[in-house]
Symmetry: C2
DNA sequence: GTCTATAATTGGATAGAC
DNA sequence: GTCTATCCAATTATAGAC
C-alpha cells in the first residue's frame, strides 16, 4: 500500500510532465503551448514526454481529466440544515462561487470552451465531473428544503438552475472574458448574499 | 453618396477577405485556421491578404470588431410599454435569448474566451459592443417600469444583472460547451417564460 | 494591388543509442 | 525509460515580377 502522491511536488516523470503541462495549458490554452515548452518546463526531453503521452491531444485530455476530477470533487451540501434556509443557502452560495470563480476553474473553462470544436469529447467529460455534480448537490438540498416547508418550489430542477444562474451572475462571465481579476472574499460574499436574497424573494416560504 | 455594402456578397477584395476570415475563425477558432485557408476561401493569394491586413492577429481583430459591431447593434427595448410588464419582459427576454444564443454569438464568445490570454484587448472591445449595450437597454426599461409601479426594484443595476443571469441560465453555458445544438423556437420561448416568471416572483409589484 | 514562388521558422513526432 | 539529434509537415510572412 502506497501513500497518495503529493500534490505540490509530483513524483515520477509522468506526474512531473502532467504537472508542467497543466501549468502551461491553464495559463495559455492549447494552441499557444508547444510540446517543447512543456518538456523544457518539466526538465525532460521531448522524447520522454512522448513516451508517456502519445500526442499533444492526449496530454491535453489527461490534463483536463485531472483538473476536473480533482477540482470539483469536494463540493457538497449534504450536512446543511434545511430549516435554517438563509444560512444554508448562503453557505452553498459561497462554496459554489469559491469553486466556479477560482482562477483554476476559470482557466479550465476557458480552454475547454475555446477548443470545443477541436475536442468535443472533453466538454462532456468536464461537464459530468463539474457542473453536474454541483447541480445534483444543490438540487438535493433544495428538495429537502422544499419538503421541510422552507421553500416554495414546484420544479426543483428549474429552481436549482435559476439559483446557480443568479450566483454566476455577471461576474462569472467577466472573469471568463478576463475583464477582472481575483475578487476579494468580501466581494464574493456580497455576490452570494445578493443572489440568495433574490432567490428567497422568489422561492421563500412567504412569497407564494 | 454610395449605397451601403451588401452583407451577403462582399464587394472588393478587402471585404471578401474579411468575410472569408470571419467564416473560418467563427467555425474553428484562431489557432486552427491558417492564412492559407483564408486566402483559398477568399479566392485570393496569401500576399493579397497580407496587403490588406498586416498579420493574422490584425485580421482576427478586424473580424471580432466587425462581428461585435454588426451583431449587437439592433438590440433595443425602447418602445416597450412599462405598464404591460409581463408582455414587455417577455419580449425583451426573447430578443435577448435570440441574440446571445444565436450560433454566431456563441461562436464569437468561444473564440474570444479561448484567446483571452493572447488577445486581452479584444475582450474589452467585444464587451462594450455587446453585453454593455444589452445591459443599458434592459436597465432603461426596468427603470421606467419601476417608476411606473410595475416592478418593486431597489437596485436597478442589480435587478438587470439578475434578469440577464436568469435568462442565460444553463442553456447558454451548455451552448458554449457545445453540449447542445440549436434550440427550436418553442424551447427558447419556454426558457424566456420561465425566467420572466421567476423574475416577477422576485420583483413583481405584489411581491414586496 | 495582385500574383507565383519561396524564405524562415516553428512545432509535432520519431530514430537510435544507452 | 530517457536522452540527443533530426525529420517532416505546416505555417507565417515576404520578395519580386506584372
Amino acid at each position: 500500500m502506497r501513500m497518495a502522491e503529493a500534490r505540490e511536488e509530483p513524483v515520477g516523470k509522468a506526474a512531473t510532465i502532467l504537472h508542467a503541462a497543466r501549468q502551461a495549458f491553464l495559463a495559455s490554452g492549447f494552441g499557444a503551448v508547444s510540446m517543447d515548452a512543456i518538456a523544457r518546463e518539466a526538465a525532460v526531453s521531448k522524447a520522454t514526454v512522448y513516451a508517456h503521452f502519445n500526442s499533444k491531444e492526449a496530454l491535453f485530455g489527461a490534463v483536463v481529466a485531472d483538473v476536473a476530477e480533482q477540482h470539483f470533487a469536494g463540493f457538497t451540501a449534504l450536512e446543511l440544515d434545511p430549516h435554517d434556509i438563509e444560512a444554508s443557502l448562503t453557505t452553498i452560495a459561497r462554496r459554489f462561487l469559491d469553486l466556479v470563480l477560482s482562477p483554476e476553474a476559470i482557466a479550465v473553462n476557458r480552454i475547454i470552451i475555446g477548443e470545443v470544436t477541436r475536442f468535443p469529447a472533453l466538454s462532456e467529460v468536464f461537464w459530468q465531473a463539474g457542473p453536474e455534480r454541483n447541480r445534483i448537490q444543490i438540487e438535493g438540498f433544495l428538495r429537502r428544503a422544499a419538503a421541510a416547508g422552507s421553500l416554495a418550489i414546484d420544479d426543483v430542477r428549474l429552481a436549482g438552475e435559476q439559483f446557480r444562474s443568479l450566483l454566476r451572475g455577471e461576474i462569472y462571465l467577466r472573469r471568463l472574458f478576463g475583464l477582472e481579476g481575483r475578487d476579494d472574499p468580501a466581494a464574493l460574499a456580497g455576490a452570494a448574499a445578493r443572489a440568495v436574497h433574490t432567490f428567497l424573494r422568489a422561492f421563500g416560504p412567504t412569497s407564494s
